[in-house]
């Protein structure tokens, strides 16, 4: 703050709230700039013509004071009218234009919508979106920053969509509920119910947030032993919500039940049969993909930078902290995400149901990282060991030979890899690169003798210097899945979590079965189950390829033999049509290969638990489930954590399984290999790109190894020995 005058600095220091206010103002200015830019620059998208038309109808009714017309007007009746009425109100200032033509939902975006109608409708939505940011800012400025810059949020509140209003009202509903929880004042309860009704009258989907409120509310009531009161209050809240919903929904007044049924059932039909939903064919985890990718790929000129992926990462880190601080936001995230995973329609705008709690979680994640760094910085001197000179000189002769070998074989290649990643070395410049071109380009580049050029510029046969520009390019590719709306990073992490959860589940289950007293054939079963672990991964993968290989695998041959009606035939046809079932042809081999390790690790751990503990438990009359929940699990889990993390890291690095199945875009490892391989699937020979992917991979593993270090006993050796 040196540039400010001292008096002002003093004032700010004395009143931290001023600083906070200033920060919020800056963030809100940023939020508005980004949204108004989006209003101006975003091209017309799907559905905008529909909602504009709906708005035009309402605007006409208002202009002609035809209030009874509201009873029958609701263009696109699958959505309740409130958000469309708001669009209608925003059009009152604009000149009246002929109705936008009615087109099927499969139609391409209508690029010829009149601009002077689009502008006010979009701006109104953007204002609502901006208000949401402002409200978030009043709770947590950092979260407001996340929401302000989240590109998917910006996009869908700045177009003529129905998201902006329910996103705002649902958040107000939660805020009112939180006030009620704190103060127990009925006024807040009523406010929350009113906004529940408004949310329902804007878009049904956002009502899922009400479920999160109910869960939190119930858990609280259970703690305070006021479950009966909870049921009464919640019923009141729900009924008032329904009343408001009907009051705000004039279209329903004439024939409530039929029209409500039509409107709701439309979605069930749409999600399972609509052509565009089927064509999109998204996997069940698509909404996670939308959180990790960014609409930047569609609107390159509009978004300067897309922090969406980082917000999602930070949110993941901050979940635990947010749970302790305000549970309802985590429940909100979980309820919305679960619903979206189950719900067959997976359009990207649905993520707006959860970007508010996502921003809160991201803010907590950032604070968590900041705290960790601060703690490390403060403690950096306290656990510094004292070295005896004699000991260091005794260590030197041991260190020199080993360290030399370690550096030459392991460290130097990694450093060289960083150097390669700052060049554009590829198959075209291979001759120059092998004859010292990499060193030359790097040296001239960092000494400023040659300029930084993007990877496609310059002489293709000569290695050029790209600086660090390859990294944003790769993150962009990860961000967008090369335009396919598929996040490689998320897939890699999901793969790790799913395969480890399965392996731990089966491994621990088998270990528990074998651990029971008096199980027959125990030794035999254990020896049998070790087999997959002992078979080299690549041969194991080959064995599964022999089952799942399309057309020629065992499974497909069985389907041929027993016909399409048989279980095999049904399975193969499901594999061919489903967007996510293919995952199990990788998960099964991974489970097969990995569970024996977890079984052995669990058995070893179980043997360390003294039997007396269980005798005591059985005397107290604990049943098997209670024994596991209160004795086995808490004693065993700390022993298993390192093993779980080892398996997790191996799963994150999984390569040979995918390589045997010729599946090139799974983990970062397969990705790097096939980018590198001169005869690979992606054209290949992109040596520098492959190097940069590897460096990113190493950086991610630093985090995992840090966790491993903290969780394992071996880690104590690192920090205390």
């Amino acid at each position: 703050m040196k540039f400010l005058n001292p008096q002002l600095t003093q004032t700010v220091k004395r009143h931290p709230s001023i600083l906070r206010l200033l920060t919020v103002i800056v963030i809100l200015a940023l939020a508005w700039t980004l949204r108004s830019q989006a209003v101006k620059m975003l091209p017309i998208d799907y559905d905008e013509d529909d909602y504009l038309r709906a708005g035009q109808e309402y605007a006409h009714l208002i202009r002609t004071s035809n209030w009874s017309g509201f009873l029958e007007a609701n263009y696109r009746p699958e959505h309740p009218p409130l958000a469309k009425i708001v669009i209608g109100v925003s059009l009152l200032s604009a000149p009246e234009k002929p109705l936008t033509p009615d087109r099927p939902t499969t139609a391409e975006p209508d690029r010829y919508l009149p601009r002077d109608l689009v502008r006010p409708a979009r701006t109104t939505n953007a204002v609502l979106g901006w208000l949401t940011v402002a409200l978030v800012g009043s709770v947590n400025p950092l979260a407001a920053l996340a929401l302000a810059t989240h590109t998917f949020t910006i996009k869908y509140v700045s177009q003529i969509m129905l998201e902006a209003l329910p996103a705002l009202t649902s958040f107000i509903m939660v805020l009112a509920y939180l006030q009620f929880k704190k103060s127990r004042k009925t006024g807040w309860l009523i406010a929350s119910a009113v906004f529940l009704g408004l949310t329902a009258a804007s878009k049904y989907l956002y009502c899922v947030i009400g479920i999160a409120i109910l869960i939190d509310w119930y858990l609280n009531a259970k703690d305070e032993e006021q479950v009966n009161l909870f049921f009464r209050q919640a019923a009141f809240w729900g009924i008032l919500g329904v009343v408001i919903f009907f009051a705000m929904n004039p279209y329903l007044w004439a024939d409530p039940l039929t029209r409500l049924r039509e409107s709701v059932f439309y979605h069930a039909g749409y999600s399972t049969s609509a052509e565009e939903v089927e064509r999109a064919n998204f996997p069940f985890w698509q909404q996670f993909n939308w959180l990790f990718v960014s609409p930047k790929i569609w609107h390159r000129d509009l978004f300067f930078y897309a922090p969406d992926m980082w917000i999602a990462f930070l949110a993941f880190i901050g979940l635990g902290r947010l749970w302790k601080k305000e549970r309802v936001y985590v429940l909100w995230l979980a309820a919305a995400m679960l619903f979206l995973m189950v719900w067959p329609t997976k359009w990207p705008q649905y993520v707006l149901t959860l970007t508010v709690p996502l921003s809160f979680a991201a803010a907590e994640g950032l604070s968590e990282i900041w705290d960790q760094i601060r703690e490390w910085w403060q403690n950096r001197n306290s656990n510094k060991a004292i070295y005896k000179k004699s000991e260091v000189s005794r260590a030197t002769p041991w260190l020199i030979p080993g360290l030399t070998a370690f550096i030459i074989l392991t460290v130097f290649p990694l450093i060289f890899q960083i150097i390669v990643s700052t060049t554009d070395f590829n198959a075209a410049s291979i001759r120059d690169g092998f004859q010292g071109g990499i060193w030359r380009a790097f040296w001239q580049g960092i000494t400023g003798q040659i300029p930084i050029i993007p990877s496609e510029g310059g002489n293709p046969n000569e290695v050029g210097f790209t600086g660090l520009s390859t990294y944003p390019f790769i993150f962009d590719a990860f961000n967008t899945g090369y335009g396919g709306g598929f996040s490689y990073l998320f897939f890699n992490i999901m793969w790790m979590v799913l395969s480890v959860v399965l392996q731990v589940g089966l491994g621990l289950g088998i270990a528990l079965l074998l651990w029971q007293k008096g199980v027959k054939l125990g030794k035999f079963w254990q020896a049998l189950f070790i087999l997959p672990w002992a078979i080299p991964e690549m041969i194991g993968a080959m064995m599964w390829l022999n089952i799942f290989l399309e057309d020629w695998g065992w499974l497909y041959l069985a389907a041929d033999k027993f016909g399409p009606g048989s279980i095999f035939g049904k399975f193969t046809s499901a594999l061919a049509s489903s967007p996510d079932l293919w995952l199990i042809i990788f998960l099964l081999p991974a489970l097969w290969y990995g569970f024996p390790f977890m079984m052995l690790a669990s058995s070893t751990g179980l043997k360390m638990i003294p039997r007396e503990v269980y005798d005591a438990a059985s005397m107290d009359g604990a049943n098997a489930l209670q024994t596991f929940r209160f004795i086995t699990a808490p004693l065993l889990l700390p022993l298993l954590l390192p093993a779980i993390l080892v398996r997790g890291i191996f799963a994150f690095n999984q390569f040979y399984l995918f390589q045997v199945f010729f599946f090139p875009n799974a983990t970062l490892s397969t990705f790097s290999y096939n980018t590198f391989n001169p005869t690979g699937w992606f054209g290949g020979g992109q040596f520098a790109t492959s190097a940069a992917i590897n460096i990113i991979n190493v950086l991610i593993l630093v985090v995992f190894v840090y966790l491993f270090n903290r969780w394992s006993k071996a880690g104590e050796g690192v920090t205390h020995a």
Partner: protein, 284 residues
């Protein structure tokens, strides 16, 4: 704790048998191929058992499994590469492991973290730079290149585990030798090394297996048929299927079995110790 009830015994056995089926299924599938003498290319019909029981695939594979390269050459290459990698990783890493186990010196914690991190890196992370560096040295396509690459993969893991082995030996044992006037090197060679040898051998075994079953990076480096390893030849049989190759899949099956059996035996014998080492010493 009492023995489980008969009903629970039956349920337990049923669940174990179900898992057993899951474990056996793919092995059976490949064994069926291996013993089938009727296969000319890939299998064309669903069978649970071979159509013609025969050992010809095994005999052919033990003669010339891949192109015109004999089994002995493939096995020799595999052994040279795997033993070489394991030996280099152990011999060059051992002094570093001992230094980290016994002495305190500056930057020790950072060094340990670096070793652990590099032990957890995927082999692919070393592939790119080593490919370029060894190409510059013009030895990329030789067996030596593979030895260097595989020892680079295995060394951090071996150092980490050998360090744990040395640390497990009580300092008092060494101090006794010191009092008798032995130097650092003598103490190490006569006292510490023999005691830590079993763990070191297991680390070497894991390094050996890593190199023994590696194929993808091998194929990237090597381009002559006489420098191919066993694992690489198996992968080649699968891959040529996609290019209309004519190797019967019974070759694939028998080669896979021949390659796995010694490893399975080793694992069954050493399972406890192998588990400890693969958990990076965290189970101790």
């Amino acid at each position: 704790m009492r023995n489980i009830s008969p009903l629970r015994q039956i349920v337990t056995q049923f669940l174990l048998a179900l898992t057993g089926f899951f474990v056996i299924l793919p092995i059976w599938g490949i064994a069926r191929l291996a013993f089938d003498g009727s296969l000319r290319g890939r299998p064309t019909e669903f069978r649970l058992l071979p159509k013609e029981w025969s050992l010809t695939a095994f005999l052919n594979v033990l003669d010339k499994p891949y192109q015109s390269v004999s089994f002995e050459i493939l096995l020799r290459n595999s052994l040279v590469v795997s033993l070489g990698a394991a030996a280099i990783a152990i011999i060059l890493g051992i002094s570093l492991a001992y230094a980290f186990a016994r002495f305190r010196f500056p930057a020790r914690q950072g060094g340990l973290f670096a070793i652990l991190l590099t032990a957890f890196l995927p082999p692919v992370a070393f592939m790119t730079p080593l490919y370029i560096l060894l190409s510059m040295l013009q030895i990329r396509t030789t067996l030596w290149a593979l030895v260097i690459v595989y020892s680079a993969f295995a060394m951090p893991f071996c150092i980490w585990n050998m360090r744990a082995a040395f640390q497990a030996i009580p300092k008092e044992v060494e101090e006794a030798a010191f009092l008798d006037g032995a130097g650092d090197l003598q103490t190490f060679l006569h006292i510490t090394l023999p005691l830590a040898l079993p763990t070191i051998a297991i680390s070497g075994l894991i390094a050996f297996l890593m190199a023994y079953s590696e194929f993808a990076i091998g194929w990237l480096f090597v381009d002559k048929a006489d420098t191919v390893t066993l694992a690489m030849s198996i992968y080649a049989i699968v891959q040529t299927q996609y290019q209309g190759g004519a190797q019967p899949w019974s070759y694939l099956g028998s080669l896979a079995l021949i390659m796995s059996i010694p490893v399975v035996v080793i694992f069954l014998i050493f399972q406890r110790t192998l588990l400890e080492r693969m958990m990076f010493g965290s189970a101790e």
